[in-house]
C-alpha cells in the first residue's frame, strides 16, 4: 500500500507548472452569487429562493410559530422533528404545534434510529446563515445536523434577518462557519432531478416541499 510520504513524493518529483499566484479576493469580479450594489438582502434572498421553488414567508418573531404550524397542518405532517438551531423558537413552536394536536420531537432524539429519522414527515430547522444572492440557507452539523434539513418530505427553515449575508464571498469571509462542526451545507430549494427526459421533478431524495421563514428584525 502506498503511504503518505511516497504518495506525496511522487507528486513532488514532478516538474512544477506555471504559477500565476493566488488571486487577491478583494479584486475578485462579481459572480451571479454576489449581491448587487444597493440591493436589499432579504428581498434578494426571497427572490432567489422563490426562483428555486422555495415558499417564502416574511414574518415577525411573534408569528414564527404560527406560520410553522400552518405549513405543517397544510402539509398534513404527522411525524415532525425540530432541530436545536431553531432556538429561540423551539418552545414557542412546540407549544403552538400542541394546540394543533401535533408533536414536534427533537431531531437529536430521533436521529440515532435511522428508520425513525427516515420516516419523518417534516423537519423544522434554523440555520447558521442565509446567502441572499444564491437563495441558500446554510446549515451546520452542529445545529440542524447533517440530514436534519433534508431527511423529510417537508422542510421549514427559519432565518433571522441578521443572519442573512449578501453573497458567497461574505459567507466564506465571515466567521459563521467556524462553529459549524463536522459539516456545513448550502441548501437552495427543494430536492430536484431532471434526469428522466428533462422533466423537472421536485422531491427526489430530499424534500419537495420547502419553506423559508424570514424573520424581520425587531
Amino acid at each position: 500500500m502506498t503511504d503518505r510520504a511516497s504518495f506525496l513524493a511522487a507528486i513532488r518529483s514532478a516538474p512544477r507548472g506555471l504559477d500565476p499566484g493566488l488571486p487577491d479576493r478583494r479584486d475578485a469580479p462579481d459572480a451571479p452569487t454576489q449581491l448587487r450594489v444597493g440591493e436589499d438582502r432579504a428581498a434578494r434572498l426571497q427572490a432567489e429562493a422563490e426562483a428555486a421553488s422555495t415558499v417564502v414567508h416574511r414574518v415577525t418573531a411573534s408569528d414564527v410559530a404560527a406560520t410553522v404550524a400552518r405549513v405543517l397542518v397544510e402539509a398534513n405532517s404527522q411525524r415532525i422533528a425540530l432541530t436545536t438551531d431553531l432556538a429561540p423558537f423551539v418552545d414557542d413552536v412546540q407549544a403552538t404545534l400542541a394546540v394543533a394536536g401535533l408533536t414536534g420531537a427533537i431531531y437529536a432524539e430521533v436521529a440515532p434510529n435511522r428508520a425513525h429519522a427516515g420516516a419523518l414527515d417534516a423537519t423544522v430547522t434554523g440555520c447558521i446563515a442565509a446567502v441572499a444572492a444564491s437563495g441558500s440557507i446554510v446549515t451546520s452539523a452542529a445545529g440542524a445536523g447533517r440530514a436534519g434539513a433534508l431527511i423529510a418530505p417537508t422542510h421549514i427553515c427559519v432565518v433571522r434577518d441578521e443572519q442573512i449575508v449578501g453573497g458567497l464571498h461574505e459567507l466564506f469571509d465571515g466567521d459563521v462557519l467556524a462553529e459549524a462542526g463536522s459539516l456545513f451545507a448550502l441548501q437552495s430549494g427543494p430536492s430536484r432531478s431532471a434526469d428522466i427526459e428533462k422533466v423537472l421533478i421536485l422531491g427526489v431524495h430530499g424534500p419537495g416541499n420547502v419553506h423559508l421563514i424570514i424573520v424581520a428584525p425587531d
Binding site: 500500500m1 502506498t2 503511504d3 504518495f7 511522487a10 507528486i11 513532488r12 514532478a14 516538474p15 512544477r16 507548472g17 506555471l18 504559477d19 499566484g21 488571486p23 475578485a28 469580479p29 459572480a31 451571479p32 452569487t33 428555486a52 436545536t84 437529536a108 436521529a111 440515532p112 434510529n113 435511522r114 428508520a115 427516515g118 420516516a119 444564491s134 437563495g135 452539523a141 452542529a142 445536523g145 447533517r146 440530514a147 433534508l150 431527511i151 458567497l168 464571498h169 466564506f172 469571509d173 462557519l177 463536522s182 451545507a185 448550502l186 441548501q187 437552495s188 430536492s191 430536484r192 431532471a194 434526469d195 428522466i196 427526459e197 422533466v199 421533478i201 427526489v204 431524495h205 430530499g206
Partner: protein, 482 residues
C-alpha cells in the same frame, strides 16, 4: 451495524432490488473504434435528438446565467485559482491531509486504479460492509469501483436517479452531469416496472417516486456511503460535494461510514475560493444559480452532533494525474467536471458520451482519455473533433482544449502512433506541395480529374480516393447549374 439494519421498519427492498444489476466496466477502447461506437448512438434517433436538445438547453441556461456579470473576468479568476492550486499541488495536498486528519478523517493513498479498488474493498472487508449507497462519482467510474466491491460481496446502490437507472440497465453514464441523457422515459418505465413486478404509471414523477422509495430503504440500511468529491479545501481539510437530488448529503450523513474517492487535482487552496468556483461549476454544469445541495464535510460526526457517520475515509486518487504536472497537458488537471464543453461540442451533440469509449465524453474526454489510458489505447480520440474551439470559449476555468487536442495529435505523430498510410500520405503530400512546379502540376491533374468525373459541376461518383467524402456528400466543383 447489523443491529441498525434490523431496526428498520417499513417495506424491505422490493424483490427486484435484492441484487442490483451488475454494471460493466467502462472500457470499450481496446475493442471498438470511435466510429463504431458513434454509429451505435447515431442509430438511435431518440438518443440523438435528446442529446442535442439537452445540451442545447444546458448551454443556453449557462449563457443566460451570466448575463450582466463580468463572466470572462470570473473565468479568468477561476483559471488563476486552479493554475495556482495545481502548480502547488503537493503543498496543498500535504496541508489538506494535515487538516483532514486533525478532524478525524482517515486518509488513504491510491497511486493507481487497482490500488483504489483494493483500498475501498479492504475497508469494506475490515468493517464488514455488505451494503453501500453510492453518490455519483466519476472517479469511481474511472477505477471501476463497483465491480471491485461486488467481487468482495458488497451490494452497491447508485443513488443518483440517473446513475441508478444506468446501473440497473447495465449501461454506462452518457454525460458527466446528466447520466441518462440518452435514455427515454419509456425505457425507464419498462425497467422500473420489471423491478417493481407490476406496471408503474409511465410518468417521470411516479418513476422517480418508485426509485426514491427503494433507495430510501437502502439509505436507511446501508453500512457505508461512498461518494466522490467536487473539491478538497486545503485550508480546512474539507471534502465538498454538490448534488441536486440530495443523495450526496444523505450518502455522507446516514450510513455509519463515509468513504470518499477523490482525484488529487480537486484541491482548492481556501474556502473563499469557492465564491468563485462554485457559481462557475453550477452555472456551467446545469445553469443554476447554485446547486441545490452543497455539502462540505471535514471528518466524522463530532461530539454533540445529532447525526453523521462514525468514520470518514478519503481515498486520494492519483491514477495518471501527477504524470501530467508541469507538462504540456497540465491544464487538463484544472478541469472541474462541469460538463459545459460537452454541452457545446458539435461532435458530442451527434454521438453522445459512449462514443468516447471510457468515462469522460466530449472535448475533455478526448483530452483526458488519451492522457489517462495512453496514446496507444485512446490516441484516436484527439482526432475525433473538428477543432472548432467552442469548448475553449465556454470552459469556466479556461482550459485551452483546442490546443491540448492539437498537442495530443502532435504527440501521436511524435510517438509514431499514426497509421502508416496516414504518415505516407502526408510525406508524399509534403514532397509534392512544397515544390510550386509539382504543386501546379498536381492541382492541374486534380482539377482535370474532377472535371472528368463531374456531371453538371458535381462529383457524386464513388471513386476510390474520394469514397469517404462521397459516401454522404457530393463534391461541388463548378457553379451549380440552376
Amino acid at each position: 451495524m447489523s443491529a441498525t439494519r434490523e431496526d428498520v421498519g417499513g417495506t424491505p427492498l422490493p424483490p427486484g432490488w435484492a441484487k442490483p444489476a451488475h454494471q460493466p466496466d467502462a472500457f470499450e477502447l481496446t475493442t471498438t473504434t470511435f466510429e463504431e461506437r458513434a454509429a451505435k448512438t447515431m442509430a438511435r434517433p431518440f438518443a440523438r435528438g435528446a442529446i442535442a436538445n439537452a445540451t442545447d438547453h444546458a448551454a443556453a441556461l449557462t449563457t443566460a446565467r451570466f448575463v450582466g456579470t463580468d463572466h470572462d473576468a470570473l473565468r479568468e479568476e477561476a483559471r488563476k485559482i486552479r493554475a495556482h492550486a495545481i502548480a502547488n499541488l503537493p503543498d496543498y495536498l500535504d496541508h489538506w491531509i494535515d487538516q483532514a486528519e486533525r478532524k478525524g478523517t482517515v486518509v488513504h493513498y491510491a497511486s493507481d486504479e487497482s490500488e483504489a479498488r483494493r483500498i475501498v474493498a479492504q475497508i469494506c472487508t475490515d468493517q464488514q460492509i455488505t451494503r453501500v449507497v453510492k453518490s455519483k462519482s466519476m472517479a469511481s467510474e474511472e477505477v471501476s469501483l463497483n465491480s471491485a466491491l461486488e467481487a468482495v460481496g458488497v451490494d452497491i446502490y447508485e443513488t443518483d436517479l440517473g446513475e441508478f437507472v444506468v446501473q440497473a440497465m447495465g449501461d454506462r453514464p452518457g454525460h458527466v452531469i446528466a447520466p441518462i441523457l440518452h435514455r427515454t422515459k419509456d425505457e425507464v418505465h419498462e425497467l422500473f416496472s420489471a423491478m417493481a413486478g407490476h406496471e408503474l404509471p409511465n410518468e417521470a414523477e411516479a418513476l422517480t417516486a418508485f426509485a426514491r422509495e427503494g433507495l430510501r430503504h437502502a439509505f436507511l440500511t446501508a453500512d457505508a456511503g461512498i461518494s466522490g468529491g467536487n473539491f478538497l479545501i486545503a485550508e480546512t481539510g474539507d471534502v465538498l460535494l454538490v448534488t441536486n437530488e440530495g443523495n450526496g448529503r444523505l450518502t455522507t450523513s446516514l450510513p455509519p461510514i463515509h468513504i470518499a474517492l477523490v482525484g488529487i487535482e480537486k484541491v482548492l487552496p481556501r474556502r473563499r475560493d469557492l465564491a468563485v468556483l462554485l457559481p462557475l461549476l453550477t452555472g456551467h454544469g446545469t445553469g443554476q444559480q447554485i446547486t441545490t445541495y452543497v455539502s462540505v464535510a471535514a471528518g466524522p460526526r463530532r461530539q454533540g452532533e445529532p447525526d453523521g457517520p462514525e468514520q470518514m475515509h478519503v481515498v486520494l486518487l492519483d491514477a495518471g494525474r501527477s504524470a501530467l504536472l508541469g507538462g504540456e497537458f497540465e491544464e487538463a488537471l484544472h478541469c472541474i467536471r462541469c460538463g459545459a464543453c460537452q454541452n457545446v461540442c458539435p461532435v458530442y451533440r451527434q454521438v453522445g458520451g459512449h462514443a468516447y469509449g471510457w468515462v469522460y465524453g466530449g472535448p475533455i474526454g478526448a483530452v483526458l482519455t488519451p492522457l489517462f489510458r495512453g496514446q496507444e489505447e485512446a490516441g484516436e480520440l484527439a482526432h475525433a473533433t473538428t477543432l472548432c474551439g467552442a469548448c475553449d470559449d465556454v470552459c469556466p476555468v479556461k482550459i485551452p482544449l483546442h490546443d491540448l487536442l492539437l498537442g495530443l495529435r502532435r504527440r501521436s505523430d511524435a510517438d509514431g502512433h499514426v497509421p502508416r498510410h496516414e504518415q505516407l500520405a502526408f510525406a508524399l503530400w509534403a514532397q509534392v506541395w512544397s515544390r510550386p512546379l509539382l504543386y501546379r502540376a498536381s492541382t492541374a491533374v486534380a482539377r482535370g480529374s474532377l472535371r472528368t468525373l463531374a456531371r453538371d459541376g458535381v462529383v457524386s461518383a464513388k471513386t476510390p480516393l474520394l469514397r469517404r467524402w462521397t459516401a454522404g456528400r457530393d463534391l461541388v466543383v463548378g457553379r451549380r447549374a440552376r
